[in-house]
């Protein structure tokens, strides 16, 4: 299967959708309309929950904000529904923006609980505010008109709804395949990873959150003008979880899964309503939600992945062309060899009463490989985290390229030219090698939301692809750029992380225990790669445990023990130093 086949399939799907009203009954059309309207919310959730890892129970509230906003504008104040669209979308995005700014820094389940909280609070608001019809709702909402033509019948609004869904899918897939989209897809890897790539994780989360709310607001607008009546019911907490269910059933993380999930849930609900009365007379309403929740629970127990990813496994893989050569990305001015690049002065870091790093000072000069070594618990990892901004020092100063970075957040340190790798490899296993390396170029490139969605970024994308391929080739992984990163053995995953770091065009490369867990052959290969990078005048700082690996590779060594600097010098001098031998071996035998 090639790209062309995928495009043909998409065109065929659009044609089928456009011709569907010719064969479908009016009832089926109405059902399709609901599916389309729910799809929009589910697509937003696929982005937010599936891609970004932010589980939201509150999307129904956003649908409600837009629906009530447009009903207020059009039914209660007599303006055009199009003004209602503008007002509804603007209001929803504002509400989402404020909620996002307040809550998106929350961790893990705290964040999801906050969505329950504001989902409920907004849901209660609809039924309790004067002027919004309280629990009776708002009726006689006008239909949407195009020119003088009112979209009254369900067939007419069908084209509007599915037109919007098709455009949203198109833009959504474009976005996911862009610089910003890749950053979104990295969110699940955790804040530390995302920030280490020079990406402001909070900003990306906020953008994703507002996009999801924007899609919910489109859905609310269509809903209000299709059903011509709204009440608080369809926007309550129960509906919030139903939306979540749609996106999870379809396959969280897949935009198409949102549409599939919305279709399955809606059709299932419809058939449950048809058949349950046959089984249990008079109790169908109650059983509906029971059957529904039970199905959802079964689904979560047995098939968390969702339908679209499951089916996609059996489809032929899309064949991709190797990215062609393109103009290179701009490079940062590199420091002259031998110049002072990094200076750590009297760094101290405490955890409560424990002093993990105690008054440590050292320097890194451009073009050298420096190793920080020490036995277990010497404070190596803490030192490393302070250098990269994952932790802050309590005392002392860190200067990089003449600028103090002591108080800088991780992403700013990364942007300044410090690229890192992780002791416990942090790759995105479901992204290809090429895409993982492309993530590294984030801080060097510019394309934003609209450029990504409308494909105005093609030239930059070509350069990014080319750059990523070059870095893959540089580290010796250029033969299979479209392999998934999760399929690589550990040794190659480490090397892939180095390629990702190189793609950031760093002035300083910091490696956190790169040899840990590697087999001998893999270690030799890694050492060879690092030597070749030094010959390209790249400065490298290694925090390492493995003496043998370090001794044959580096120019200078700093030894830490119990948080303090023990000594510093060339490998041969360190090897014969009695204090080092004592620290490692517990006294000379």
């Amino acid at each position: 299967m090639t790209r062309l086949h995928v495009q043909l399939a998409a065109v065929a799907a659009v044609v089928c959708l456009a011709l569907a009203p010719l064969v479908l009954s009016p009832f089926s059309i109405t059902l399709m309309n609901y599916i389309g309207i729910y799809s929009l919310v589910a697509i937003g959730l696929a982005l937010l929950t599936g891609v970004g890892g932010i589980v939201s129970f509150g999307q129904a509230a956003f649908v409600g904000v837009a629906a009530y906003a447009t009903a207020w504008v059009s039914a209660l104040n007599g303006y055009s529904p199009w003004l209602g669209l503008v007002f509804g979308v603007a209001l929803t995005c504002c509400v989402a923006g404020i909620l996002g700014v307040v809550t998106l820094r929350l961790q893990g389940h705290f964040l999801s609980l906050s969505t329950v909280a504001w989902g409920l609070a907004i849901g209660f608001l609809f039924g309790n505010v004067d002027g919004l019809g309280r629990f009776n709702g708002i009726s006689s909402i006008p239909p949407i008109s195009v020119g003088s033509f009112a979209l009254v019948s369900s067939v007419h609004i069908y084209f509007l709804i599915w037109g919007i869904v098709a455009v949203v899918l198109f833009l959504g897939y474009n976005l996911l395949d862009s610089r910003l989209g890749r950053a979104m897809r990295a969110l699940r890897g955790g804040n530390i990873l995302v920030e280490s790539l020079g990406i402001n994780a909070f900003r990306i989360k906020l953008v994703t959150f507002v996009i999801a709310a924007f899609l919910a607001s489109l859905s609310g607008w269509l809903y209000a003008h299709m059903s011509r009546f709204i009440s608080p019911g369809p926007f309550d907490a129960g509906m919030g979880i139903e939306y979540l269910m749609m996106s999870m059933v379809g396959g969280a993380g897949s935009l198409l899964g949102g549409v599939v999930g919305a279709a399955i849930v809606t059709l299932l609900k419809n058939s449950v309503q048809d058949y349950l009365p046959l089984i249990a007379k008079g109790a169908s309403g109650q059983l509906e939600i029971v059957a529904f929740s039970a199905l959802f629970i079964l689904f979560l127990q047995w098939a968390r992945q969702g339908i679209v990813p499951f089916v996609a496994r059996y489809l032929p893989k899309i064949k991709r062309e190797r990215p062609p050569a393109a103009p290179p990305l701009p490079r940062r001015p590199q420091p002259t060899p031998g110049e002072l690049l990094l200076k750590v002065d009297g760094a101290e870091r405490r955890f409560g009463g424990l002093v993990a790093v105690n008054n440590v000072s050292f320097e890194v000069r451009s073009g050298e490989i420096l190793a920080v070594i020490g036995p277990n618990g010497a404070g190596k990892s803490t030192m490393f985290n302070c250098l990269t901004g994952a932790l802050r020092v309590n005392k002392g100063e860190i200067v990089f390229a003449g600028r103090p970075i002591t108080r800088d957040p991780q992403s700013r340190i990364a942007k300044a030219g410090v690229a890192r790798t992780f002791q416990h490899v942090k790759l995105r296993p479901r992204m290809s090698l090429l895409e993982n390396v492309m993530l590294g170029t984030y801080a060097r490139t510019r394309a934003g939301l609209f450029a990504g969605a409308f494909r105005l970024n093609r030239r930059e994308e070509a350069s990014i692809r080319h750059e990523a391929l070059m870095q893959l080739e540089r580290v010796g992984l250029g033969d299979k750029p479209f392999e998934l990163a999760g399929n690589l053995p550990l040794g190659n995953q480490r090397i892939l992380e180095i390629a990702r770091a190189l793609a950031a065009d760093p002035a300083l490369l910091v490696l956190d225990e790169p040899a840990a867990g590697l087999r001998r052959q893999e270690k030799l290969r890694l050492a060879e790669l690092l030597r070749s990078l030094r010959s390209d005048h790249l400065t490298i700082l290694i925090v390492e445990h493995d003496m043998e690996f370090v001794m044959s590779l580096v120019d200078r060594i700093v030894v830490l023990d119990f948080g303090s600097k023990l000594c510093e010098g060339a490998p041969a001098a360190i090897r014969s130093d009695e204090r080092v031998q004592e620290a490692y071996l517990g006294g000379v035998a």
């Binding site: 307040v102 389940h109 409920l120 059983l287 929740s293 994952a390």
Partner: protein, 347 residues
């Protein structure tokens, strides 16, 4: 607002808060032992009230049928999993715990019902009927995904709540109930009338929290539960089975929820779906305690009760909006408080 009104509102709030506190403590208990944020505890509380009302009206409550169905389901699942792992020798044990015991409880309740028992016995019957539900649900719903993320468990928990609401309507019907007050005693304190029911609620909350404290600090089972909460793997190495600890936690938790249901039934009209708000407000209280501290959860829950009481005086329609909006600043505070440790874990 005069000081008289403020005092009345405060007392009212403390009483409501004490009810939430019982549920909140149960929520914290379950969360620490199993990592499940068990939203349906509120439903358990509401079901207890409905069960008691049915017993008062000399009808056999729908809870019986619910327990029977859940017991059959749990037994079936347990048998399948035993067959799969080839541990058939455990079958009699499984049958006893998952089938015979719950059915016996229902049977005893049914037989006792015919003798037209006094109120005290009816209270015990209501609690007996309600306590098997959560452990059975644990077996059916949560045990197969016990290793899942907190988020997955939370999602399942929310779905389970909706299933229970539907079942509640099915088994108890749409009518709201309000049971007879447990006592008609009342007293005046500093010029404010305090009803016996209010005092009973506060006393019950204190007594049950105290008992729980004694259980955790002075019994081996209690200590094993705490150990499971601190470190599942570690306690497993010490011979504690997390699944069993989970069952005990669910039993205790539903007992607390049941008591709160009995206490609230004479004060508020309880419907089949009243549980959600009780559960969520208790949960807000539990979050104040960081989901780990029992006194913190109790104080938080009482705080929520007082806040709700004053909010409903200001604007009864918007009281829930106020309570849930307040959850967001609390969450931010808690998240900031736990930020440091989480980052360390990640590294």
């Amino acid at each position: 607002m005069t000081s008289d009104i403020a005092a009345i509102l405060a007392i009212d709030g403390i009483a409501t808060g004490a009810v939430y506190a019982l549920v909140a403590i149960g929520t914290v208990l379950i969360f620490t032992v199993t990592r499940v944020i068990f939203i349906p505890f509120g439903d358990i509380a509401a079901f207890t009230a409905l069960t008691l009302a049915a017993l008062d009206a000399k009808r056999f409550p729908g809870t019986g049928a619910l327990v029977v169905i859940l017991a059959c389901l749990a037994t079936l699942i347990e048998i399948i999993s035993l067959v799969r792992t080839g541990e058939l020798r455990l079958l009699p044990r499984a049958l006893f715990f998952y089938l015979v015991l719950p059915l016996a409880v229902v049977g005893i309740a049914w037989l006792t019902m015919r003798a037209d028992p006094p109120l005290a016995v009816r209270l015990v019957l209501a609690l007996m009927l309600i306590t098997p539900i959560a452990p059975l649900l644990d077996r059916i719903v949560f045990r197969p995904i016990a290793d899942g993320t907190v988020l997955l468990l939370l999602t399942v928990s929310v779905a389970l709540h909706f299933a229970l609401v539907g079942l509640g309507l099915l088994f108890f019907g749409p009518e709201g109930v309000r049971t007879e007050p447990l006592t008609s005693f009342s007293t005046e304190f500093a010029g404010v009338l305090i009803s016996g029911q209010t005092m009973l609620i506060v006393i019950a909350a204190l007594v049950f929290s105290g008992l729980l404290y004694l259980f955790f600090d002075f019994t081996l089972v209690g200590k094993s539960l705490r150990a499971t909460a601190v470190n599942r793997t570690g306690s497993r190495l010490m011979g504690i089975r997390p699944a069993r600890a989970g069952t005990i936690a669910y039993l205790l938790g539903s007992l607390m929820a049941g008591v709160s249901g009995i206490l609230i039934a004479p004060v508020n009209t309880v419907f089949y779906d009243s549980g959600f708000l009780i559960g969520l407000k208790a949960f807000v209280g539990a979050i104040v305690g960081g989901m780990t501290s029992y006194p913190g959860a109790a104080i938080g829950a009482v705080g929520v009760g007082i806040l709700e009481s004053f909010a409903s005086f200001q604007s009864s329609a918007l009281k829930d909006v106020i309570v849930f909006s307040l959850l967001i600043p609390i969450l931010i505070w808690r998240s900031l408080a736990s930020l440091h440790s989480e980052e360390e874990i990640e590294e």
